[in-house]
């Protein structure tokens, strides 16, 4: 297994939407090893605040450079936004499994809510190389929060109706499927758990294959601490680990609970 725990030089941090940034760093070997859907466990502070690393989806790989995107919601992301060219960033990875982009399907239906858009530019690139048709249903709080870089086949939905469909990305997709019949579709979804749950329900109702990229609190990111369980529908083990069994799961394999929406 190729795996790295390295300080990489930061190349740039640029705004891509309100409160949202893309951070790019130079990591030749890591960039070659990464696949869409995987994540990195990143040290945001040299001090002990935050103490733990924060997991981030690999958003894109550009030659020898890796990019993550994040919205400022707390301490870790505030520190990441202050990084400048010349700083370094401690990265552990590649971690987790990949999206099933090599599976047999015709149309990729991407559903992204908020910063859940993060893993998709990299996925879109791999899908385009395989000449899949792509529809991306992108949900955001408002027009200012929409991150569209590197995506394809965009259908935008905003909570306040300031751009595109007025409502959620999942409702927008449901309306689309009422009038279109995509060829052998496969859903790839990432976003808040409420959105993932609605996507899971839609996929079951319409009989569409569906993968969900999950979030969880994490400490280690490598299957040691047992801190990131998600309940499984069946099998000997009651819980899967988001960090090593995921973050991408078949939507039929996992169960969301109320606390996931707190």
């Amino acid at each position: 297994m190729t795996a790295y725990n390295t300080d990489y030089p930061v190349i740039s941090v640029r705004p891509v939407a309100d409160e949202t940034f893309a951070l790019r760093f130079h990591a030749p070997e890591l960039s070659a090893a990464l696949r869409p859907g995987q994540f990195l466990n990143i040290l945001t502070s040299e001090l002990y605040d935050p103490l733990l690393r924060r997991p981030y989806s690999i958003s894109n790989v550009i030659g020898e450079e890796c990019e993550i995107i994040f919205t400022i919601v707390g301490k870790g992301t505030a520190l990441l936004a202050e990084k400048r060219s010349g700083d370094t960033i401690g990265v552990l990875g590649p971690l987790g499994n990949t999206f099933g982009y090599e599976k047999d399907f015709g149309t990729a239906i991407i559903v992204a809510g908020g910063i859940g858009v993060a893993p998709f530019p990299f996925l879109v690139r791999e899908l385009q190389r395989r000449e899949k048709s792509i529809h991306t249903f992108l949900g955001a709080r408002n027009a200012g929060r929409v991150v569209r870089d590197g995506l394809a086949g965009l259908h935008i939905a905003t909570d306040d109706g300031s751009e595109g469909y007025h409502g959620t990305a999942v409702a927008c997709l449901d309306a689309f499927l009422g009038t279109h019949e995509p060829d052998r579709p496969r859903i790839f979804a990432c976003g808040p758990n409420l959105m993932l749950r609605a996507t899971q329900e839609l996929a079951a109702r319409r009989g569409i294959a569906c993968e969900l990229s999950l979030e969880s609190e994490m400490a280690c990111g490598v299957g040691i601490c047992q801190g990131c369980p998600i309940e499984r529908t069946e099998g000997e083990r009651k819980y899967a680990l988001v960090c090593t069994d995921g973050p991408c799961f078949d939507s039929r394999d996992i169960i969301f609970h109320e606390h996931h929406h707190a």
Partner: protein, 315 residues
């Protein structure tokens, strides 16, 4: 400079081990650190049957620390032997299996089964997990129960027996003394401190089990004081645990009386932390002209006639 650590009949390469539950079964972090640079690996607690662990949420970060409520999720004894031990046997460092159980009989059964396996150097007995209803703390907070487990296990193995103590008691030195009396080779402390965190928005506890175990730099001062207290009460080696992030932290533990240390939460920040700490301790000794690291153990320089008012008197 000699940094070896004699633990009963066993000699460890150095005085830095990795703590149970924070380093898995060794294989997970092998890509990120040199396992033969550390003195020993203490495995995740192993119980007779697999344990699924507690419902999420299991982790909350707090100021300079973290709360966990894992609930001893582990693969169970059979899977440990068939899938985890084979890798551990190949690692050139001491392998210490941590055992958790909910009755004296279960501790006995697990240890006796492990005694039949090659490649185990010592045992650490977890009587101090705060996150399970059955066992764990209910043993570790009763002096007689801690003594009974030690008494029962002692004659069943010639390998070093370490009892892992909880700080969630009034006077941990009484527990350490009981372990010494019953023939334990060492005590390790501290396991996590019971703590909690609340979400003011939902007014609900953040952890599914309401309370969890606090670890990380936040607990180091408490851990140091507990080790200091125990060092006044027992002669057997003490393995200091709690918030060790750097070699300076580890040296502090030696000075207050620990013979060795375990590195826990730090491995989550940096899988190479324990190895770096071992290197840093060696360099400190070289610089300070310390010929044998043992000379640092209990070497705290206390001005004459000064006593610690916060220290509960020992036996």
């Amino acid at each position: 400079m000699n940094s070896a650590f004699a633990l009963g009949s066993l000699v460890l390469r150095n005085r830095v081990l990795v703590a149970s539950g924070t380093f898995g079964y060794g294989n997970e972090l092998a890509p990120y650190t040199a396992l033969d640079a550390i003195g020993g690996i203490v495995t995740k607690s192993v119980s007779m049957l697999p344990r699924q662990g507690n419902a999420p949420r299991r982790i909350v970060e707090t100021a300079s620390g973290m709360l966990n409520s894992i609930g001893l999720a582990n693969v169970g004894l059979d899977a440990f032997i068939s899938t985890k031990l084979p890798f551990l046997r190949t690692v050139d460092t001491a392998i210490i299996v941590n055992i958790a159980a909910s009755s004296v009989e279960e501790y006995t059964a697990v240890l006796e089964r492990l005694e039949m396996e090659e490649g185990i150097d010592a045992y650490e007995i977890n009587v101090s997990c705060p996150n399970v209803k059955d066992g764990g703390l209910s043993f570790g907070t009763k002096r007689e129960a801690t003594a009974a487990i030690t008494r029962d296990l002692r004659p069943r193995t010639r390998k070093p027996l370490i009892i892992k103590l909880t700080p969630n008691v009034t006077r941990v030195s009484d527990f350490a003394a009981a372990c010494e009396d019953e023939g334990a080779d060492a005590v390790s402390l501290i396991n996590t401190l019971v703590g909690m965190a609340v979400d003011v928005r939902t007014r609900a506890p953040k952890l599914s089990t309401i309370t969890g175990g606090l670890s990380g730099p936040a607990i180091k001062p408490v851990a140091l004081a507990k080790v200091f207290e125990v060092s006044k009460a027992v002669r057997i080696p003490i393995i200091g645990i709690g918030g060790i992030m750097t070699w300076e932290d580890a040296i502090e533990f030696l000075l207050v009386g620990a013979s060795a240390v375990q590195v826990g939460t730090a491995s989550f920040r940096d899988p190479d932390a324990a190895a770096k700490i071992a290197t840093g301790m060696d360099a400190y000794c070289e610089r300070e002209g310390v010929a044998d690291m043992q000379d640092l153990v209990g070497g705290l320089r206390i001005p004459q006639n000064v006593t610690a008012p916060g220290l509960v008197a020992s036996r």
